[in-house]
């Protein structure tokens, strides 16, 4: 099993930031998902975050909400998600991270979920509606090779960021802004000040920044304050806009170049 932190460290050793791309499982279609995922990885993504569709995605903005709804209408279930992982894993060693809301996971059974996720080759799990307060009761002792990744936000106190760093495995997911996922027009000074603060507190883990990052320029701005970045809505929007594989690939490549400091 690949350890996510080691993977990020290797990339950082080359003076590069890690690039993680978020895709909603089963989007744009059940048939095309694995192909798109592999394309994204071949185009320069260092890791893949796979979103488990949910009927009520509270932390997501309109783009990911719509893709999640679309996937549910296509009948995507957790079984499909694990199958996608297996198929992608067969072609790549890059870490696959699952992101999903609490309810479908506990409905599947937390024990079964953690087992099947590892068996299908997933390396990590992010559950946005399970904060520190509910961490123990949610995982209920099911700690295995699946690394449980926790999030910080601009509203997290210094003390809390330390606790999150202590508990989190794989990396710490630093949410750049207060709000839901989705593209932002700009980031003000407070956003950068907070990233700086958070990055200085986190010591045990690598830190990846997500939410609102939509272009190479954003990556360049955030690079000094992190070990990697996560892009979701902007890639899904690109997939929505174009069926042209080269354009999707080109967009991911431009993000990847920015993460490598080449822009």
């Amino acid at each position: 099993m690949i350890k996510i932190a080691e993977h990020i460290k290797k990339i950082n050793n080359f003076e590069k930031k890690a690039l993680s791309i978020f895709l909603t499982a089963g989007f744009p279609s059940k048939e095309n998902f694995v192909e798109i995922a592999l394309l994204v990885l071949e185009s320069g993504a260092d890791m893949l975050e796979i979103g488990i569709p949910f009927s009520d995605p509270l932390a997501d903005g309109p783009i990911i909400q719509a893709s999640s709804q679309h996937a549910l209408e296509n009948g995507v279930t957790l079984k499909d998600v694990f199958n996608y992982c297996k198929k992608i894993r067969a072609k790549t060693n890059k870490p696959l991270i699952l992101m999903g809301y609490a309810n479908p996971i506990i409905k599947y059974g937390i024990k079964n979920f953690c087992r099947d996720a590892v068996n299908s080759g997933a390396a990590g799990l992010i559950v946005p509606d399970v904060p520190l307060e509910e961490y123990e009761s949610f995982y209920n002792g099911n700690f295995n090779d699946l690394e449980k990744i926790l999030l910080t936000t601009p509203a997290s106190s210094d003390k809390r960021i330390k606790e999150i760093d202590e508990k989190s495995e794989g990396f710490v997911y630093c949410v750049s802004v207060t709000g839901t996922t989705g593209m932002r027009k700009s980031f003000d000074e407070n956003v950068l000040a907070n990233l700086k603060r958070t990055y200085s507190i986190i010591s045990k883990n690598k830190m990846m920044i997500g939410f609102g990052i939509s272009n190479p320029e954003n990556i360049k701005t955030f690079s000094p304050y992190c070990d990697g970045v996560i892009v979701g809505s902007a890639v899904i929007k690109k997939i929505n806009e174009t069926k042209n594989i080269d354009r999707i690939s080109g967009f991911v490549r431009s993000l990847s170049l920015a993460a490598e400091g080449k822009m």
Partner: protein, 403 residues
């Protein structure tokens, strides 16, 4: 003798047994902690309590009467029926009890903007009302389906100066309005307070909404003791999220001989798949910040639900109700859209009280309950709101048959 255990929930972690908790994005934790800390302070603060008390009396019109329903009692010919008249609250429903409490909290928190979700529009109207009174900006999220069926309340909210934001995602009802309100709160948490309208959501909301609503049961207890020199045998209330029910039940939970009955919306019928009978047919899940009974499919996706009453049209329920169901302190039943409509007419014609369609579910349950009661028993029904807002729905549904 049975060991006496005093009911005391939530625990320090905001749990009602295994239910409740804070299943929210990290962004909201500090706001919830701040709200919880303030709430525990003001609970003991005489100045805060007397300010709220004064507002409840002079603005909301409390205490609301407990009305003996003579003709309704004669209609069934069994136990005596009393009606707790929350329909006489200012703005026409129990919702203002909570909105007044929360607006005082928001002021103390120094928040300048208020958001709320609404289904039937009663909570939206109550929130818009307190925002007008205290001069705060107000945005109310409301599903497009509900905007259509509760037009009158939409207009009222606008007149009160609130912005009504239509929600077009999902089933376009209360659940989706709540999602959007939470997303707004995650985004604007620094200057915004979210006035949740029911005993749902993350801790401390289920506790504090219950406490603000518990004035209903507190008054009922005094009033029934005065009228009958004894406690009631049954208390009946409708349950969507469950705030009017928690409000009237709470002060009776430790009175074991008072049977508490919650009535859910069975929509087109329990077999139809189109209902909101969460406690009757749901399973525990995690939804909108809480662990609670939830109507969901086998993959854990939240179900599309239906009730003729917008206020009950919700796939979840307050976590305290989930506990009260499991420990069998409250019994939950359900009645259909048609039964609720019939009960609306019954109460109108026999008592001159037009209940909200939500409330009508509690009234409709009397058809099942009353035959089992005895003449020397007492039943209290919580008349949570008035029905003027539902006239369009009722006209569309039964048209001329009412005449």
């Amino acid at each position: 003798m049975k060991p006496q255990t005093v009911y005391d929930f939530p625990d320090v972690n905001g749990k009602f047994g295994i239910y409740g908790g804070k299943y929210v994005p990290e962004t909201l934790i500090s706001a919830l902690d701040e709200l919880e800390k303030l709430y525990f302070e003001v609970k003991k603060d005489e100045e805060f309590l007397s300010e709220l008390d004064k507002l409840q009396k002079e603005y909301n019109g409390r205490p609301t009467p407990l009305t003996y329903a003579k003709r309704l009692t004669e209609h069934f010919g069994k136990a005596k029926i009393y009606l707790k008249r929350e329909d006489l609250c200012h703005t026409g429903a129990h919702k203002l009890n909570n909105a007044l409490g929360q607006i005082l909290l928001a002021k103390k928190l120094g928040k300048t903007r208020i958001i709320a979700e609404t289904g039937a529009g009663q909570h939206g109207v109550a929130t818009a009302t307190v925002c007008a009174k205290f001069g705060l900006k107000c945005a109310v999220y409301m599903g497009e389906v509900d905007i259509e069926r509760q037009k009158l309340n939409v207009f009222r909210m606008k007149m009160l100066g609130a912005e009504v934001i239509p929600v077009s995602s999902g089933s376009r009802t209360l659940k989706d309005a709540t999602n959007e309100a939470i997303r707004d709160w995650v985004t604007n948490v620094s200057d915004t307070h979210y006035i949740i309208g029911s005993v749902v959501g993350p801790h401390p909301y289920p506790m504090l909404v219950r406490d603000f609503q518990s004035v209903i049961g507190k008054e009922t207890k005094l009033q029934i003791l005065q009228a009958e020199k004894k406690l009631p045998d049954f208390i009946v209330a409708c349950v969507g999220g469950g705030s009017n029910a928690m409000g009237i039940f709470y002060h009776f939970i430790n009175n074991e001989n008072v049977k508490l009955i919650g009535v859910e919306a069975a929509g087109y019928g329990l077999d139809s798949g189109k209902h909101c009978a969460t406690l009757t047919l749901g399973e525990p899940g995690i939804f909108q910040g809480m662990k609670t009974y939830l109507l969901q499919d086998r993959f854990g996706q939240v179900s599309e639900v239906h009730s003729i009453s917008a206020g009950l049209d919700y796939p979840g329920v307050g976590p305290e109700h989930s506990l009260l169901k499991d420990i069998e302190r409250v019994k939950y039943f359900s009645v259909t859209d048609d039964e609720a409509l019939e009960a609306t007419l019954l109460l109108s014609k026999l008592e001159g009280i037009l209940p909200a369609l939500e409330t009508a579910h509690a009234v409709a349950y009397l058809n099942k309950l009353m035959p089992e009661t005895k003449k020397d028993e007492i039943v209290v029904v919580n008349i949570s709101g008035r029905g003027d807002k539902d006239l369009n729905t009722i006209i569309n549904k039964i048209g001329d048959n009412v005449l």
